[in-house]
Amino acid sequence: MSSTKEKPKKPVKTSIPMEEGLRSGHLACQGCGAMLAMRYAQKGLGRKTVFVTPACCWTILAGPAPKLSIETSLLQCPFATAAATASGVKAGLVSRGDTETQVVVWAGDGGTYDIGIQALSGAADRNEDIIYVCYDNEAYMNTGIQRSGGTPMKAWTMTTQGGSQRPKKDLDKIMEAHSIPYQATCTPGFPEDMVKKFQKVRGIKGFRFIRVLSPCPPGWKHDSGDTVALSKLAVETGAFPLYEIEDGKFKLTKKVSKRKPINEYLKKQRRFRGLKDKDIEEMQQGIDAAWVEFEKRS
């Protein structure tokens, strides 16, 4: 029993909120980046939030009915419809007098880059007052690792067993072309950056788009203990720049002054094991060229 004489403890000041939005007993694989992504997104977004989730890993991770692995409501919807369904939820809530709740799409890369891109483009074009989050694990992981538009060049998947022959679609550029108020990238290896961005979007009106790079141990074929390391390496090698674009203004939120060689990121993932030295060299050149642009814009 605690003594009444004991002094009340000073509240610890943390760089990210202590409150947890995840419940125990979720169904994620060990080392799931998408689970970490949800954890930090919730810390930024708070509870006045409703998630809208199309077919993706989170269809399962949320738990089978009547269970739910998060502390926030979640509406499941068909694959191609997340942005449209969320537009409807927002309009419905507003019609009932609730203008405060943030309606947040929580979708994988397949539901965003591919089958959901029409609804996404439509909602962005209408500047719907919703937040669209794509947790990007770079393939159809829930159906067992098939290539999506988000799969990187040369990556192995079950439908690109000789390595993907096309570069990853530049979705961020597509979104930028919609002139939306805010878009950003983040990844759970940099939780402060991520939480800050999710806190910030709550205060912005209109269509907001956030892409979260989410390492996937079974899909990327990496050790489940390396999820955070890979999330960090993606940024430190420059493969995944952290930035935000607010009202058209581009800003790097993490300046990487000395980028690590891309191979440090690639070699931990067996999906890239078919890469030749020449491929790695080409990738490195691609990153270096892209960074000239990023630094010029920032």
Binding site: L74, C77, A83, A84, A86, V89, A91, G92, G122
Partner: protein, 384 residues
Amino acid sequence: MRKVLMGNHAASVAVGLARADVVSAYPITPQTQVIELLDELQTTGKWKGTFIRVESEHSAMAACLGAATAGARTFTASSSQGLAYMHEMLHWVAGARLPVVMVDINRALGAPWILWTDQTDSLSQRDTGWMQFYCSSNQEILDSVLMAYRVAEATLLPAMVVYDGFTLSHTYEPVDVPEQKLVDKFLPPLKYEYALDPKKAQAISSLALPKPFMRMRAKMDADMHRALDVFEEAANEFEKIFGRRYRVIEPYQCDDAETLLVTSGAVASTAQAAIDELRKEGHKAGNLKMRAFRPFPAAALRKTLKPAQKVAVVDRNYSQGHHGIFCEEMKSALYSLDERPEIYGFIAGLGGGDITIELLKEIWHETHEGRADKTNPVWMEDAR
């Protein structure tokens, strides 16, 4: 107040009167005037709802799904390819037990490109779990939209009001537009008890296991059957307030008829004129109009049709390799009777071809005089 309205505008006026909260739609011929008038009503402040101008029909129904989940009264309108594109969402919305109301303006499905009416678009949605009500006049369009909200919200089943492209959608008729306060009495604000509440952590439409899934579908079916009674109650109330009466099937001169036509949509009003002529010519002819397709009014049919009667089902729709769809359904509904009328199927007016009084009389004579085929549908075309 009586107004001269095109069919499509009768639908929009009804949506305004129903005080729909959220409309989401995408344009397609011959539906466009429905959403154009809603835009005008919104712009002029006569309708206070939200109009989400989506980029496709699939998204139109998705937005209805979202808004209805949040407890809003919702509406959309489509036709043909648009309805087919929505198909996945029709299943989902019904499974989610959301009382969404839509109109489908019948238009044949391609290929080839075709603009005019036939019912294959709506009847192809038979197994989605939506109620379907077919209209024969612009008054019926307006009234059916109001009735659809009432029945949908009492059963938690979505409802589709269906009418013929161009024949009704673009034809002007006098329509009695009811007063707002009377509509408010018939249709109080929606109180959807399962509405999304952001204060509670709710999981909606999450993965179900086989047993609960099966039970959910059985409950849905029970509610679909119950919808017939709910329709009757709503029709009673509607008659009390507005003075017009609607039934799931509407017999015309059927009691002593030896041979009956079975029709739906705008063809049903042409058929009444054909029956009047046949009667004048001394024939015992009748017409049975099908208003409800889902729920299927099997009990009413069994009660109305007599074993000695011959029945000619005129289908402006077709299930390739089998029958007209109303004919199929009619046969299956009557099969369990020990004694049942003879049923003949006729296919007419696909892709908008005219179904004239003359053609309907010809179909009646073919049936009455025993020249029709009892097994296979007969394809009829007006040669004039």
